[in-house]
């Protein structure tokens, strides 16, 4: 779960990491009031989950009320690489002496937390890692011990920060590690971490991802979510507990098991088609769940044909067939379906589908055949008799 900048800063502040005073706003009037409250000059910042906001014109300095109003008007509703700006963060502008970079993330390969730090902040860190790797300090932490103050001081000193802010940077690193552990984050990143002319160390930006599996022990974080930036069908799927990811194509996909669904997307793409979604109906999908899934897939108007790819392990083929028949009765889809049923109770499932004689439903025996059929159907080509 990725957080917006201002949400990340709330978590920073909770753990003693310094941030500039600011307020979120969703209307122009709200933004102007917020600017007055935090004090000019202010920075008006678009709150979207995508990098490159500044270059896109989504971050502007305002010296007074008329400028704040002007910028808020321009930025609210702006489309930044497909992300519509619905929230602004209005923050008192900071004077900057130095810009650093700091992050804590889960290193899946080392199976340890990794602290990264660089005095080359404010730029793309992947570029720093590529071009001047010696300027990026990488320090693995023993998760059973945590990040000690001594380690943090060493990271700051090795990173080459000015001598008078070693302590301040170390404090920030310890606090950032605390954010990462205490909030069950998978990523906590500050870029830039600034030093002001009066030598204060402060987080000017925040990029935080939280582990959705750990939200149950953070009730205070459950209201923080990227839902306002989320696709409406994805939001609905999340509420219904269905694993659904919207994609750009026109072929709806349903399968059971994340790996099989990913594989189905690939096979459809190889057959020349373009998947409209990822949907994992999960293990043991009963008829009601299948119906719900069909409704989600068809909620996307771009869908021209649908592929059901089921290899039953726990999932039973007859259950899937019953769900599909029930869904057809209720939803009455106008697009063709290709159904491939294999595995547990597949014979019974195929028999049920045969007998139901659903309009516009085409059986397929293998995954590859199913992909070819659905691609043809989405393109409006005939593929032989329906069931």
């Amino acid at each position: 779960m990725d957080l917006l900048e201002y949400e990340g800063k709330q978590l920073f502040a909770r753990h003693g990491l310094r941030v500039s005073p600011g307020r979120a706003a969703t209307t122009v009037e709200d933004a102007v009031r917020a600017a007055g409250d935090v004090g000019y000059p202010v920075v008006v910042k678009a709150q979207v989950l995508i990098g490159g906001r500044g270059k896109a014109g989504g971050v502007k300095l305002a010296a007074d009320e008329s400028e704040a109003r002007q910028h808020a008007q321009n930025i609210l509703g702006m489309d930044i690489k497909g992300h519509i700006v619905r929230t602004l963060w209005i923050e008192h502008a900071s004077d900057i002496a130095s810009e650093y970079y700091a992050s804590v993330l889960l290193d899946r390969s080392a199976k340890r937390p990794l602290v990264m730090f660089s005095v080359e902040g404010g730029v793309d860190i992947e570029q720093v890692a590529e071009e001047t790797p010696e300027k990026l300090i990488r320090h693995h932490v023993d998760p059973l011990l945590g990040l000690s103050r001594e380690e943090a001081v060493k990271i700051a000193a090795d990173g080459g920060v000015d001598g008078d802010v070693v302590e301040g940077v170390a404090d920030a690193l310890v606090a950032l590690y605390e954010v990462w552990t205490a909030e069950d984050a998978t990523l906590a990143e500050i870029n830039p971490l600034i030093v002001t002319p009066d030598r204060e160390v402060r987080a000017l930006d925040a990029k935080v991802s939280l582990d959705g599996n750990a939200l149950y022990r953070h009730p205070e974080n459950q209201s923080l979510s990227d839902s306002e930036n989320e696709d409406p069908i994805e939001r609905r799927a999340k509420e219904e507990g269905v694993q659904y990811v919207k994609l750009d194509g026109d072929i709806g996909i349903l399968g059971n098991g994340a790996g099989l669904v990913m594989s189905t997307l690939d096979v459809v793409a190889q057959a020349g088609g373009s998947p409209a979604n990822f949907l994992d109906a999960g293990g043991g999908s009963d008829a009601e769940k299948i119906k719900q899934a069909v409704e989600l897939i068809l909620a996307n108007d771009a869908v021209k044909a649908v592929l059901f790819n089921i290899f039953g392990g726990i999932t039973r083929g007859d259950e899937v067939a019953r769900g599909l028949i029930a869904a057809f009765e209720d939803v009455k889809p106008s697009v063709p379906f290709v159904v491939r049923l294999d595995g547990t109770n597949d014979v019974e499932g195929r028999r049920l589908l045969d007998e139901a004689k659903l309009p516009n439903v085409y059986p397929a025996r293998t995954m590859d055949e199913a992909a070819e059929k659905v691609v043809a159907l989405a393109a409006g080509q005939p593929v032989g008799a329906a069931a």
Binding site: L144, N213, R217, G257, A258, G259, M262, D266, G283, G313
Partner: protein, 298 residues
């Protein structure tokens, strides 16, 4: 021979009294797995169709001497259950539970390494381990597999069934099928399981089924080139997955330019591993490589 589970397996199950836990435990027993007990705090003294239930792993160890634990408890209790089984001296822990917080998995992984190096963890968020004809620990539908010489290691359950079934239809069988799970911090990696298959006499070919996210496939490629002499055929799912989106599994996410299917396939091919572009192709390559080696009937 097979790996990890066989006739010597003595299985105990945490969460045996739950609906899913009892269903799959009894399924495993029906297959022939020796199930010696279950663990549910507060329900010690009860039994599940004759399988004794204990209050703790220590008690289970005293009275039933399990060498394998299966974890079926809800996510918030799973980490402690794994550690408790390890502390009691269980050598192999298979965690089926999906949805365990990543920080818990990190703590479990590092605690096992430090305090219980004798315990091997498979999973979490995995379908378990099946050695056809010998033992089944988990939720893998055994009817799709028969005994043979193909070792399978995979991050995904259903995809494993798909590939295994195609291999079976071509007349070949499996030594062991190991699901290592789809989470960011699995207890065992591809490399750990490849090492076991390399040493296993029954296994003559290894199928590795990976997916987007992390770098376990790249590490496997390195390991294969240095330490595996048996043929390996690989599959990677998620070529069409967009960056930054979690595709079902908690660990299946492309982060920036890292963890893509293309990079993984490339890393494997660079080390001489043949990578099938579809599950059907993987099965076909496996069968082709096995061509001169018919499987002895179980």
């Amino acid at each position: 021979m097979a790996i990890l589970v066989d006739q010597d397996t003595r299985l105990a199950v945490a969460g045996i009294t739950g609906r899913e836990g009892s269903f799959h435990t009894l399924n495993n027993r029906r297959y022939g797995t020796n199930v010696v007990g279950g663990v549910t705090p507060g329900k010690g003294g009860q039994d599940v169709e004759g399988i004794p239930v204990f209050d703790s792993w220590a008690q289970a160890m005293d009275e039933a001497q399990p060498n394998t634990a299966m974890i079926f408890v809800p996510p918030r209790f799973a980490a402690d259950s794994i550690l408790e089984a390890a502390a009691a001296g269980v050598e192999l822990v298979v965690a089926i539970t999906e949805g365990i917080p990543a920080h818990d998995e990190l703590r479990v992984y590092n605690l096992l390494k430090r305090d219980h190096p004798g315990t091997r963890l498979i999973g979490p968020n995995c379908p378990g381990i099946l050695s056809p004809g010998k033992a089944n620990v988990g939720i893998i539908p055994a009817s799709f597999f028969k005994e043979g010489n193909v070792g399978v290691v995979s991050r995904s359950g259903t995809l494993t069934y798909q590939i295994g079934n195609e291999i079976a239809q071509a007349g070949f069988g499996c030594s062991t099928i190991v699901g290592i799970g789809g989470d960011p911090v699995p207890g065992s990696s591809f490399v750990d399981v490849l090492e076991l298959f390399q040493a296993d006499e029954q296994t003559e070919l290894i199928v590795l089924s990976g997916e987007i996210g992390g770098s376990a496939e790249e590490e496997a490629a390195e390991y294969i080139s240095g330490s595996v002499t048996k043929p390996v055929v690989a599959y990677i799912a998620g070529f069409t997955a967009p960056a930054g989106k979690q595709m079902g599994h908690a660990g299946a996410i492309v982060s920036g330019s890292a963890g893509t299917a293309a990079a993984k396939a490339q890393a494997l091919e660079a080390k001489g591993v043949r990578v099938g572009r579809t599950p059907t192709q993987v099965a076909a390559i496996a069968v082709e490589v096995l061509g001169g080696t018919p499987v002895t009937a179980p």
